[in-house]
Symmetry: C2
Subunit: 415 residues, 2 copies
């Protein structure tokens, strides 16, 4: 199969590219390296420095003899997007190419608007380009379980049969996302469903849980094939952050009481889920949703698990409950269906003790690289921007904005 | 009350401004005149030429002695948006300031992306500016009944109680919008709901039906106070278009069988609904939805009504069924609740014979201005762009896009 991976330089994009390449597919990766710029901007970095994509592609070819084609492009540039589809002629596209962080989207006005316009424009451009150059191509889109929020009923996979006043219909599951980032994924889902219906495109929307893990079979082949493991407040996910905190000897930071429940999955299962979606494509004009996670935990359960395992390794691990920077229900019902990928053959890696040992061990090898100061949450959902880089941006912007508004007032009638 | 009308130069914005001004409110109008530019671009125009906003404001003051404050600004410019809120200190904002046409949003890639980024960015900027400068201000946002699509169950006002596997919750009503424009309104609704929840803003989302009518008590005060009545395929609504076709002596163009049912309301009721929302604001942190229409008709019923009334006036009126340019269900269940505005005191104008007479009469006065060639649909939902202005744009863009992709390929690794 000819498969394009969008966002192929990222935490999941790069391991997906190697995984699919090793299984005999013709793989192309596309990235605009925006995340590497944001890392610099926010003064954060992954645990292990990541070689340039070009370099990883070269090593991959050296180690496995398999080519991965890399292109630098921005999905927000429509002519580029069209040209890539026309030239590569993909049978399938795996779309990770979006701004992936909830805290980033909540930092300030600029980043919130950027997150939504960037993510929506990229996906819309892709849909228009598919319509023109690859109408039978299967779009595998990475969404998030966070699109659903935490309703007081069971969460179904994308659609729910509703009986109301004696009539029935199967309708999109109502969405209650918790950040401008999560909202952007909801917007994408609505746009993709519409494009499938009106243009007969086909797509699988993977509503993914929180991914953890640092290693896959392919990253293990060579030290330079590593993926970008983030543990900071902006790009790091809860379990990855807890493991790093345990190794660094700082308290595990639990937001609020930690009773928030979420779906989790191992990075190895992400790759297998994407593969299962690719091998079992939807019909022409079909839009389907798979809930992609394997286990549900509360944040506190995760922290306690890491504490127990850390202590077995001789680490001294404490928990610290922080005032929750997010506005979210902390005590809530949570039961989300996740049958469809299991039915296609997914055999989940469980968050077993062994697994935590191996994550902790891999992090310990890099313990000297940990920068504890980037872990604590500074982005507040309901406060004025408190992230230092936002304040700096605001100060810097103020001069500019005052000038432009003054110029405008001259032209405009006085209010 | 200090009330800002965004999109105050438009079909509904301008009559709303006059209506509220006359009722003793301090009214400011904001517009970037984008729609006047699109009219030129697409070579279409309203039935009666519309004087510049400045001129209408001057005449309004002359006729009534009441000031309306006008500002030229683009909501996509965040510093401008903030400055307006800071200076005007509105108690309420009525937000019509978006790209309002479904066919426009379906014309081509550029206009589809523009519609979504323009509408979403404007509303997000407004929410951020309200958070900073007007956190208690009431945002009255114009949405559309088209957000819901045509589900096989009764449509509720924004939220629905769902019982599922023995549990219950009240959740956002599932949305199935029918164009990139309608999708943009769905995205707005999700964003506003979130901002109310997280930032304690307050908003009324008016899911409005199809508006018809050419005259209000205030436009009738002076010929130059007229509002922009469109009958073309891009900005014209179904009933307005039918009335113009009847007067012009061309067949009424019914899309498909015409069994599509929609909610309709008189432009005078739009003004009253907005007023009722303003006079009965939601609580702090509350997001509520009113379905704003008064009667449900099928498109064919509308056409037949116009035919009957036209014939009474001595017009020869024929119906013509065109292949439906839209992808939509033509035979479907449709029952949408619209109680909340009635409970607040709305007394609907019915689409009575008299009303059609008066619309037809006003159009007859301007019969010589009608340009029948701009009525027929050229934008196809499921075809390659067929609107002449899109084809021209595509031809023009092609040279540019080829260059930029070539330049890019030099920089990029080869795919």
């Amino acid at each position: 199969m000819r498969i394009l991976i969008l966002g192929g330089d990222g935490y999941l994009g790069w391991p997906t590219a190697m995984y699919l390449s090793r299984r005999g597919h013709e793989v192309g990766v596309v990235d605009n390296f925006a995340k590497r710029r944001w890392e610099k901007e926010l003064n954060i970095m992954p645990l292990v420095p990541i070689p340039p994509l070009e370099e990883r592609v070269r090593i991959w070819q050296q180690v496995t003899g398999l080519p991965i084609h890399a292109v630098t492009a921005d999905l927000c540039d429509y002519p580029q997007t069209k040209e890539i589809l026309r030239d590569f002629r993909p049978d399938a596209i795996v779309h990770y190419g979006e701004q992936p962080s909830a805290p980033f989207s909540m930092m300030d006005q600029h980043r919130s608007v950027f997150t939504q316009t960037n993510n929506i424009t990229g996906t819309l451009n892709l849909l228009w380009a598919m319509r023109e150059h690859a109408p039978r191509c299967h779009l595998v889109k990475l969404g998030t379980m966070g699109e659903y929020g935490t309703p007081n009923i069971d969460i179904e996979e994308g659609f729910i049969e509703i009986e109301h006043n004696g009539r029935r219909d199967v309708l999109p599951f109502p969405k209650q996302p918790g950040s401008f980032y999560h909202l952007s994924k909801v917007h994408d889902s609505h746009n993709i469903l519409f494009a499938c219906r009106v243009w007969n495109l086909r797509s699988t929307d993977l509503n993914q849980g929180v991914v953890y893990g640092i290693e896959t079979d392919e990253t293990a082949l060579h030290p330079e094939l590593v993926t970008s493991f983030h543990y900071d407040e902006v790009f790091g996910t809860a379990l990855n952050r807890f493991c790093v905190q345990a190794v660094a000897g700082v308290p595990l930071t639990v937001y609020g009481q930690g009773r928030q429940k979420r779906g989790f999955l191992n990075i190895r299962d992400t790759l297998r889920c994407v593969e299962l979606a690719l091998l079992n494509p939807p019909g022409i004009g079909e839009y389907r949703v798979f809930n992609q996670f394997t286990e549900i935990f509360s944040v506190l359960e995760l922290a306690e698990l890491v504490k127990r395992q850390g202590e077995k390794l001789g680490l001294s691990v404490k928990l610290q409950h922080l005032k929750n920077p997010r506005v979210e229900a902390e005590t809530h019902y949570y039961n989300a269906r996740h049958q469809k990928l299991l039915e296609l053959g997914l055999e989940p890696h469980r968050l077993s003790d062994v697994l935590i040992d191996s994550m902790l061990a891999r992090i310990q090898e890099n313990a000297q690289r940990i920068r504890p100061e980037i872990i604590l949450p500074r982005v507040q959902w309901d406060h004025a921007s408190s992230h230092p880089s936002s304040q700096a941006a605001a100060r810097e912007g103020k001069g500019k904005q005052r000038r432009s508004v003054l110029e405008e007032s001259v032209k405009a009638a006085k209010i």
